[in-house]
Subunit: 409 residues, 2 copies
Amino acid sequence: MNWRLKGRKKMVQFAKRRESMEYTIHSMHQIMESLTNKELISFGGGAPAIEAYPLKVIQEITQSVLKNEEKAVQAFSYGPTIGLPSLRKAVQKNLLSPNGISAEIDEIMITAGGIQGLFLVGKLYLNSGDVVLVEAPTFIHAKMVFDSFEVELQSCPMDKDGLNIKVLEAKIKKYHPKIIYTMPTFHNPTGISMSIKKRKQLARLAETYDVIILEDDPYSEIRYSGEKVKAIKAYTNSKNIIYANSFSKIFSPGARLGYLVADSEIMQELVEMKLATDTCTNGLTQTICAEFFNKGHYPSHLKNICTIYKSRRDVMAKAIDLYFPEGTKHTSPDGGFYIWVELPEKLDGRKLLPVANEEVKITYSIGSDFFVEENNKGSQYLRLSFAGKEEHVIEEAMKALGTFFKSKL
Amino acid sequence: MNWRLKGRKKMVQFAKRRESMEYTIHSMHQIMESLTNKELISFGGGAPAIEAYPLKVIQEITQSVLKNEEKAVQAFSYGPTIGLPSLRKAVQKNLLSPNGISAEIDEIMITAGGIQGLFLVGKLYLNSGDVVLVEAPTFIHAKMVFDSFEVELQSCPMDKDGLNIKVLEAKIKKYHPKIIYTMPTFHNPTGISMSIKKRKQLARLAETYDVIILEDDPYSEIRYSGEKVKAIKAYTNSKNIIYANSFSKIFSPGARLGYLVADSEIMQELVEMKLATDTCTNGLTQTICAEFFNKGHYPSHLKNICTIYKSRRDVMAKAIDLYFPEGTKHTSPDGGFYIWVELPEKLDGRKLLPVANEEVKITYSIGSDFFVEENNKGSQYLRLSFAGKEEHVIEEAMKALGTFFKSKL
């Protein structure tokens, strides 16, 4: 039974998948309520900085696209379900090759954002009752997508260098998952990156146990320090690795663009799944985004946004060290948007959230929302996003939040 | 087993839904092969005329949107999953109220095109094994969407004024469908419109038998003759009527915009289904489309495109009368894009398609593709779309096609 409909009058019954989504839907609503409360300073969301949208360039490009009749017609017509060739080529050249992924054009599909990529892979592979193995903790929105296929979610702990491979292999043997979902670089929510050794091990496990690795990689371009690491997909020819990415963090979320990379036989099937979901992706933003890359704007834009985010990360990490209670631990990610904070044992981030909302007008994501177990596991953790706020706001808010936590010890 | 993978090596197994989509996927591919063959003059697709895109106005609006910082930021940010309020209000005022549908803002959701609306309703309601009742014939792409939920499709014959209600009621009693899918106005593929009496009867059946009526209405705005008829949803307060529409035919298909109208409790659930599919709809085209309506461009644009299409319909209908073999029957729709042609008994539209492709370089949609039975039912029918071709092309091609059919008698 759905919590919103309890006690309401009879309606035509919803599908069973609604029931298996119930817990995550409820969590997401509590999150959204806190995040959309305009009276709070939010470090909870995953949205990029508005200052990081390339609006000026987009304005120029859009004007020239709409003045060119051929391009304008293409932008407003039905397009191929797999995506516009110009954008798929731009992905191949600017995003895949530099990251060690060799893919043909027919192995790349444009999706309507990153989440749709995960959804389409689920749609192609997942039956009710199948097992999906995820990281503990994992991205809550991905969890919601998997829930909608009525699967059993199992999780595997992470070390400082990513998934614990030994536990993972034992869990594969025990649960026979259809898909292992991982975000190996600048993981959401922890910021952790998987070591090269583990990437190779994971690729081998995919072959040995005939399981799909769904590699979700929306943050890897946004690196501030450390050496670039190739994607898992770059270390193997296995057809069992499907790579998903998004333009939301490197271009803009409202453009609703992402991409999938898979072996061409699998890709043909993913395309059918998209055709049966929403026909094709928006032609206008595909055309604008393709021009953005093809006219060479990306390198300087990426450099610019990394400079913005690096400084915000540095300020946040330093402020946590300075102001949070003794015994607080946190990750120091080389990229991405998030710092994962472990509070001293006595503090419960979940219970304290409404109090922090009330007393210091600050909100954050609760660690327990990122675990698949339906209890309060992980409630000593918080996820803080440094992406969306200017340095002085981060500094002041971390001081207030740290002081708040100290007062609750 | 999937026809493309027969004999290929072992891969991770696809979900069962892929199997139930097999027949329609195969048909759609044959259709696409013929439609995308540049050497053929195609009357097969459902795309609007390129001349009917309001490109000039879009260019002006887009420029002003991108120059306005607030609007530009909105266009490129994550937006509400239910859609931008400005576009939902535009739908309410310009498209629903004039058609007799009274809906609150929270009962309207923007979707990524019309197909996504059908998909989301399926996602909320359909379990494997459920029955969906469709019209015979029905829209093939909708059939593909329902197939992906592993349902049993049953069909009900249509009269000249829409669904045969007597047979429908008997089928409801026999099969207990979860959803009845109908396109009551300028039906695809037949062009038929349902009478007001039957609309009211259908609305009553939805309540009596507790079944969802999914009313798909992408063509109703495009009327050339006859009196405007209100939507089924306008004749009832029943929560069991869910209304789906698209901006593809009245604005542009590449903008990927559509909308759903449902009771607010059901709408909240449809929003969750979208959140778990693709997060939210494209912000840029939502913003442009909202401005298009809110700045008052729609009435003159609609008048303009109806003039274009009416003339094409007239030319096609006349040419069929003139050139097709004796005994040919066809519908004369008051709107929409399609004429449904019944060939004399001796001619098989399915078998003759490759021959017509070869001999007269013309392609069309085969009637049998619009029936849910997996045999050649309906192969004496063709669907001809007059939307995309200029009058002289229609005239010449119908002459050639008619002469071709005569030669095969």
